[in-house]
Amino acid sequence: MLIRLKDGHVIDPAHDRDGIDDVWMQDGRIVARPPRGTEPDAVYDVAGKIVMAGGIDIHSHVAGGNVTLSRLLLPELHEGTEAPPDGQPFGTARWSSYETGRLYARMGFTTVVEPAVAPSQALQAHLELADLPILDKATLSVLGNDEVLLGLMRDKAGRDAIADYVGLVVAKSRAIGVKCINAGGSAAFKDNVRTFGLDDVIPSYGLSSRQIFKALQQAVVDLRIRHPLHLHCNNLGVAGAIDTLVETIEAADGLPLHLAHVQFYAYGSEGKRGFSSGAQQLIRALNLNPNVTVDVGQVMFGQTVTISSDSLRQYSANALASPNKWIVWDGEGNGGGIVPFHYKASNVINALQWAIGLEIFLSAHDPWRVFFTTDHPNGAPFTTYPKILHLLMDRDERARYIAGLPKAAMALSALPSITREFTLQEVAIMTRAAPARLLGLTDRGHLSPGAIADVSVYTDTTDRTAMFERAALVFKDGNLVVRDGEVTEYRFGRAETVEPGFDKAIVRTIDGRLGDLYGTDTRQFTVPAGAIGRDEPFRVHPCRS
C-alpha cells in the first residue's frame, strides 16, 4: 500500500530537512517520491502540520522485575477509571504494559528502551515488553554487580574473557546494549557497605567501581556494540555528586560512554542547605569530553515511584518513601529497590531538582549529545513529556512555573536567567535523530527512503503541551495506529537486539561459574524466541563493522 503524507512541515534533522514536503510510505518503509502519475492508495493532507519520525525513548523503566514490583507495592496509586475501547484489551488498565504502549503511542513515540534488565530476569522483561502494544522495544542488560563478572575480574581472566562473557549475556538475553548501575555498589551493599563512591572497593572482591565500569566500557567497545556503555554512576541523589559525575566523565578516557539521568548527580553542596546546581560544571565537562553523551532525567512535580537497580541507593532513600513503604532486594547481580516519592513544588530541594534538569537541557551546546528523559518514572512519568517539551520551547511557560516556586530554590539555579527556547528541529534531534544514532538503530529516527515507516504528525500550535500530548496521526511500520491522539488499533512491535560475536568457549566457563555459585547455568539468562508467544519477537541489528 502506497501512502502519501501531503504538504506537511517535514522536520528530519538527520538529513537537514526542515520545510514543506511530502513523505511517502510503502510496505512498512519510507520510500522516495514515486514517478509522476503514480497514484497513492491513501493520501493524508497534513498541510499546516508537523511531520517527524516516530519518537524514541532511550531510557524508560517500562518492564521487568522492578517495574512489576512497583505495581504490586502501590495498587492504590493506579486504580482504573475507564474501560478500554473494543479491540484494545487492558489498554486502560493503569500501569499495565498495554496502557504503557497506548500512552506512548498517542504522544507519537514508536520505540522505547527498558534500560535495566537483570540478565536473570530477561525472559520476564521480554514477556512484559511483548504485551506492550504499538512500539518497538529494546533492553539493556545490567552487569557490573554480578558475581560472574566480579569473579572473572578478581581472577584476572583478562579483557577477552570479559568481552566474551558480556557478549554472551547480551546475545542470549536479547539486549541491545549494556547497562552498569552503581558499579560494585550492590555487591558492596551485600557486604553491608552503605555508601559507595567511584574509588571505593567491594570488600569481598577488592575491586573498585572505577575498575568495574572501565572493564565493561572496554568490553562494549571490543564487542563493537554500537550503543556505548550506559552508566548509572555512584552517589545518585547526593549533594555534591557533581564531583563524582565529573570524575566519571574524565575516567572515560575518550572512549564512548553514556551517562544516565545526570540531573540526579548535577548537585553541588553550596548554599545554606548544602545543595545547589552543578549544571554548569556538568556542561563544562561535557564540552571537554565529546566522547560522552547524557540523558537528563527531568523531574516534574507530583506523585511518582522511584524504580532502580541501585539497591544500595534505594535502601538509603527509604526514609523518604511517600507513601511510607518500600521494597529492596538482593539478587545474583544488582537487585533493586522501589521507593515511592512525591516531588513537591513547595519543597526547595525538589524545585531545585526541577530547575537543574531544565538548566542542563538549555545550557547544553549540542542537542545530539543530551537526551530527553525523565528516567520514567523516577523523575516523573513519561506522560509529562509534552509539558517538559513545552517548558523547553517556551520561556513564558517557564516563567509561569518559576513564579510559583520557592525563591530560595530559583536563586541557586541559572534557570531564571536563561532565555533560550528549543526549536522543533532541536526537539526532533533530541527525541528522534540522536537516540537512533546513539542506539545504532540506523533504520529509524529519520525519514529518508529505507527507514521503517514510523511517522508522527502533530498539529502545530503554540500550546506545545497539547501538541505533543495527542499526535494528530501516528504510523507504525506504515500502519495508521493513532488518529487525533487515540490509538485506533493494536499492533505489536519487536524487540530490537544485537548479537555481538564472542568466543563460544566462554559458555563452558560461565556454566561452570554459575554452577559453582548457584547450581544454575547460562540458561538462566537465555531468552528463547519461542517462549515469547508472538511471531518473530526479535530483530537483530548489526554491530559496528
Binding site: 525472559l123 557486604d191 528463547p528
Partner: protein
C-alpha cells in the same frame, strides 16, 4: 477420556462450544485455580476481561498474605539462589515440613557456606534439609505459639520489653540469645511459607528483616507458592496492573482481595459460572457446591462435583515447553519438555483451549492481542 461433557465423552469442538455457552451464561463468572504456565495465564486474563470474570489462584490464601505485606509495608528480600550462596544465618519461621525439598535445593547444596540455623517452629524435616551440622538453635517457648514468639523476638531485637510472665525467665533468655545470634550475622535471611502462617506473622517476619537490616545485612526468603502462583502474580500484574484476586467490573481491571475471592464467591452462590484451571497438579476445586463449571485439568483429575465440561490439558512442565516461575532463582524460566514426551502428548495446552473458547465467544482470535 480427555474430553467430557456432563460426564460423557465428547469431541473437542463440542466441548469448546459448550464451555463458551456455560461461561457466557454467567453474570458473575470466575476464573479459578489458574495453575498454568505464563501462556495459560495470559490467555485466561484475556478471556476473563472479555467475560468480566473474577480471577483467583489456587494458592490465594497464602499468596494474599504475602501480597498484603508487600502492598502495606513493602519488603526486603533476596533471591533464594543468592541466599543459598551468601547467608551465614538463617531463621526458619513456621513448620516448613512440606518445603523441605525446596529448602534443600536452596540451602543444602554441596559447598554451601557454614551457617547458623535458628528454628522458630520448624519441623525436624525442614531443619534437616538445611544441610548444616548439628541441630538448629530452637526457639520454642512452652505454651506460646509461633506467631507470639515471633512478635516477642521482634520486640527483643528492637530492645523493647515483652511479657516476661508469659514467656518465663528461660523463654526470655532464649529469645535474647536468639536475638543476639541473629544480630551477629554477616548476611542473614528469614525464611517462611505464608501457607503455614497468619497475616500478622508474615508482617512480623518482614518487619523483623527490616529491623535486623538496620545494622547487619538481612533479607527475606518467602516461599513463592505452588502451581506457578508467583508466575501468575507477575503476569497478572504486567497485564492488568494488579495481582489476583482481581476482576473487571464495568470492564475496569480492579484488585480487591475480598470482593474477587473466588472461593468466597462460589461458597456464597455469587458466582454463577466457573472456569477451573489446574494444568500442573491433577487437582479439582474443593468447592462443595459449585456453579456450572468448565475444567481444564491435568489428566487423572478426580472430581467431587462433576463439571459441565472437562478438557484434559498438557502438563505445563512435562509435555509442553512452558514459561514458569522458578522457586529457586525467583524468576520466570523457560522449561523445555522432553521432545519425545511432547510429541507423544495429543492433549492441547491451556492457552490453546482458552483461545478456542475465546474465539467462539468473540468471533475474534484471543491470541493476537
Amino acid at each position: 477420556m480427555s474430553v467430557r461433557i456432563d460426564g460423557e465423552a465428547a469431541s473437542f469442538e463440542d466441548a469448546v462450544e459448550r464451555a463458551a455457552a456455560v461461561l457466557s451464561a454467567g453474570r458473575a463468572p470466575v476464573v479459578a485455580g489458574l495453575g498454568t504456565d505464563i501462556a495459560g495465564v495470559r490467555a485466561a486474563l484475556k478471556l476473563a476481561e472479555h467475560l468480566r470474570a473474577a480471577v483467583g489462584h489456587r494458592a490465594a490464601p497464602a499468596l494474599s498474605r504475602d501480597l498484603a505485606v508487600l502492598s502495606e509495608t513493602g519488603i526486603l528480600f533476596v533471591t533464594p539462589t543468592e541466599a543459598g550462596r551468601r547467608a551465614d544465618t538463617v531463621l526458619l519461621v513456621g513448620d516448613l515440613a512440606t518445603r523441605a525439598g525446596w529448602l534443600a535445593e536452596v540451602f543444602g547444596r554441596d559447598g554451601a557456606p557454614a551457617r547458623t540455623v535458628v528454628s522458630l517452629g520448624a519441623s525436624a524435616k525442614a531443619a534437616a534439609a538445611m544441610g548444616t551440622e548439628g541441630a538448629p538453635l530452637s526457639l520454642a517457648v512452652k505454651g506460646v505459639g509461633v506467631r507470639d514468639t515471633l512478635l516477642a523476638l521482634k520486640a527483643r531485637v528492637g530492645g523493647r520489653p515483652v511479657d516476661e510472665k508469659r514467656l518465663g525467665r528461660s523463654g526470655l533468655r532464649d529469645l535474647d540469645n536468639a536475638a543476639k545470634t541473629l544480630a551477629a550475622a554477616k548476611y542473614g535471611v528469614v525464611v517462611w511459607d505464608a501457607a503455614g502462617l497468619d497475616g500478622l506473622s508474615v508482617e512480623a517476619a518482614a518487619g523483623l528483616v527490616r529491623d535486623l537490616n538496620a545494622a547487619a545485612r538481612y533479607a527475606a526468603v518467602p516461599f513463592p507458592g505452588d502451581d506457578n502462583a508467583a508466575g501468575a502474580v507477575l503476569a497478572c500484574a504486567w497485564t492488568t496492573g494488579f495481582p489476583p484476586p482481581l476482576g473487571f467490573p464495568g470492564g475496569i481491571a480492579t484488585h480487591d482481595p475480598w470482593r474477587f475471592d473466588v472461593d468466597r464467591m462460589v461458597a456464597s452462590g455469587e458466582a454463577d459460572a466457573a472456569l477451573w484451571i489446574s494444568a500442573m497438579t491433577p487437582a479439582a476445586p474443593a468447592w462443595t457446591e459449585a456453579p456450572p463449571t468448565v475444567a481444564l485439568v491435568a489428566a487423572g483429575t478426580r472430581f467431587v462435583m462433576p463439571p459441565a465440561v472437562v478438557i484434559e490439558v498438557r502438563r505445563a512442565d512435562r509435555t509442553t515447553d512452558a514459561v514458569l516461575h522458578d522457586a529457586r532463582t525467583n524468576t520466570l524460566t523457560p522449561v523445555a519438555a522432553p521432545r519425545g514426551k511432547a510429541a507423544a502428548d495429543a492433549l492441547p495446552t491451556v492457552a490453546a483451549v482458552i483461545a478456542a473458547i475465546h474465539l467462539r465467544l468473540s468471533g475474534k482470535g484471543g491470541a493476537s492481542c
